[in-house]
């Protein structure tokens, strides 16, 4: 059932214009970020050595001059945010449920949309990395230059592996956003509200947590800041986390949202507000 649902949702993604719009936007924002990073390079310095490709790719993800991480959740919402709500607002949900059962349906749908969201993100990031490796010099990072705090050793010794870890983390974030979009599509009826609400919630919650240190100066406030979703989308490279922390963070959040989605789906179905 899950594999068939994944095939169906992948087919949907290929035929939808919004997916291509999201991928194009991803590249536009990435290239703008690269131009911004280039503008910060001391080109006039006679001893200037161009930054390696890995520096550009990693810096664009977050921290300091990188701003791609702010838009990544929005791009996921545009690409896959309407997959469930279109089924719900049509007879397709009823036709699908009658061919299986409720729990199999919603479980398969969560996994399917999550995987599709993660795949779109991974594909976009891999294409960006490939572009970066072609356009910029491929050298090992300079330990005396700007080095991210996150999994620093891996960055210095295996920068390609490091980039793949970042791609894995952003794919996990995309899986989470896909699941969140299903939850909000169960709660909301309106198509456009269901597409945008996950991003608005994502940013709103992040801003709330990130402003904790401004309100109260304590270790807890800084912990809340560090654990906000927006920071964990890309800005975490400025924090001394081990390589697995961000991945586990998104897995735990995804499981919580998935369970909540199943509960809310069941409740709405029982109250006959879903079909």
């Amino acid at each position: 059932m899950i594999s068939r649902m994944i095939k169906m949702d992948l087919h949907s993604l290929i035929t939808k214009k919004s997916v291509w719009i999201a991928i194009i936007l991803f590249f536009v924002i990435s290239l703008l970020n690269y131009e911004f990073l280039k503008s910060e390079e001391p080109i006039g310095n006679p001893y200037y050595i161009p930054s390696p490709a890995f520096h550009y790719f990693v810096s664009a993800q977050g921290g300091g001059s990188g701003f791609l991480f702010v838009f990544l959740p929005l791009l996921v919402a545009i690409a896959t945010g309407d997959l469930f709500i279109r089924e719900r607002n049509s007879s397709y949900l009823m036709f699908s449920i009658m061919r299986t059962d409720i729990i199999t349906y919603i479980r398969s749908k969560i996994i399917s949309i999550g995987i599709c969201s993660a795949l779109i993100m991974a594909l976009s990031q891999i294409l960006l990395l490939s572009y970066t490796l072609i356009v910029f010099p491929v050298n090992l990072p300079d330990p005396s230059g700007t080095v991210p705090y996150f999994a620093e050793n891996i960055y210095l010794n295996s920068p390609l592996l490091y980039c793949l870890i970042l791609i894995l983390n952003s794919s996990a974030m995309a899986f989470f956003m896909g699941t969140l979009s299903i939850l909000l599509s169960v709660i909301l009826d309106n198509l456009y509200a269901a597409i945008l609400a996950p991003y608005i919630l994502f940013i709103g919650l992040s801003e709330t947590l990130m402003s904790a240190p401004l309100i109260y100066d304590s270790n807890l406030s800084y912990a809340l800041y560090s654990l906000s979703p927006l920071v964990m989308s890309g800005d975490y490279i400025t924090i001394e986390y081990s390589w697995w922390v961000v991945l586990i963070y998104w897995i735990i959040l995804t499981i919580i949202i998935a369970l909540l989605t199943i509960l809310v789906f069941n409740k709405k179905y029982k109250r006959e507000k879903l079909i």
């Binding site: 059932m1 068939r4 095939k7 169906m8 087919h11 949907s12 035929t15 939808k16 279109r86 089924e87 607002n89 049509s90 007879s91 397709y92 009823m94 036709f95 699908s96 449920i97 009658m98 061919r99 299986t100 059962d101 409720i102 729990i103 069941n266 179905y269 029982k270 006959e272 079909i275």
Partner: protein, 282 residues
């Protein structure tokens, strides 16, 4: 439990908030039977279909489909081998009709692309057309909905106003679909406001009135050819509502509207009066 019963409602009551839709509904439908449900708007006809499909919950009572008790909800079970077309169907707009049906068929994986193409042809839709469903007319969507309900040859089919939006050709195609389903021993429950459809397709008819469900007399149009034109008067005496079949060139063909239950008694009377006749169509 009788293994010939496709679906059985036992003392089913449905209330929504403080409104009673219907109470103590009891009926059974046998395998291969086609049953109609009629009633005024808001009487609960569609609710009965939703209950049978497991999409709605009975307030009290039990529903059995092919011997298995329906327990809706998360840890429950929905009606197996059942298809439904409830209200005007809306498909995924960015796909063609074929793709919509293809992905639905993949859930159970009983049928292949050829079966879907055959079903689409039977409802008068072109399976090769790339036209997206968003460009479909109401009639086309209804045909696609019918294809969705019939394509996997389910044992129980639930239809809500199935000919809604269909033109004359569409109704004829629907009629052929129903005949095919009957040959496959499928049971069909359908809700309609159209009395002619009810008479044409149904073996039995139920009516919902004043929150209760009861079985209605089923009327048929008995078409008989009589030998002597003098017997026309005798038949009119027995059944004043009879009339000549003006669509036939033969001036001795009569149509006798009669309830199914009393048709045999009527024919017996004809025999007693030595009226020679030939049944052309029931």
């Amino acid at each position: 439990m009788d293994t010939n019963i496709a679906i059985e409602f036992k003392n089913v009551t449905k209330r929504i908030s403080n409104n009673t839709i219907f109470k103590d509904v009891n009926f059974s439908i046998y395998k291969g039977e086609t049953v109609g449900i009629i009633g005024t708007n808001g009487s609960g006809k569609t609710t009965i279909l939703r209950l049978a499909a497991g999409l709605s919950y009975a307030t009290t009572g039990e529903i059995y489909v092919f011997g298995e008790k329906l327990i809706p909800g998360f840890t429950g079970n929905l009606a197996k081998d059942t298809a439904a077309l409830i209200e005007t169907p809306h498909f995924l707009p960015y796909w063609s009709g074929f793709n919509n049906l293809f992905h639905l068929s993949k859930i159970k994986n009983y049928i292949n692309k050829k079966d879907i193409e055959n079903t689409m042809n039977k409802v008068g839709l072109d399976p090769q057309s790339k036209k997206k469903v968003r460009a479909y007319s109401l009639g086309m969507r209804q045909r696609l909905g019918l294809a969705q309900a019939f394509m996997e040859k389910p044992s129980l089919i639930l239809l809500d106003e199935p000919t809604n939006g269909l033109d004359k050709e569409g109704v004829q195609l629907f009629s052929a679909l129903v005949e095919d389903a009957k040959k496959n021993d499928s049971s069909i429950i359908f809700v309609s406001h159209n009395d002619n459809e009810i008479i044409q397709f149904c073996d039995r008819v139920f009516k919902i009135e004043n929150h209760l469900l009861f079985e209605e007399e089923t009327y048929i149009n008995l078409k008989i050819k009589i030998n002597k034109s003098e017997d026309i008067i005798n038949i009119l005496k027995l059944k004043p509502e009879s009339y000549m079949d003006t669509s036939s060139d033969d001036e001795t063909v009569m149509i006798v509207p009669i309830s199914k239950n009393s048709s045999q008694a009527f024919l017996n009377k004809l025999n007693k009066q030595n009226i020679i006749y030939e049944i052309i169509q029931e």
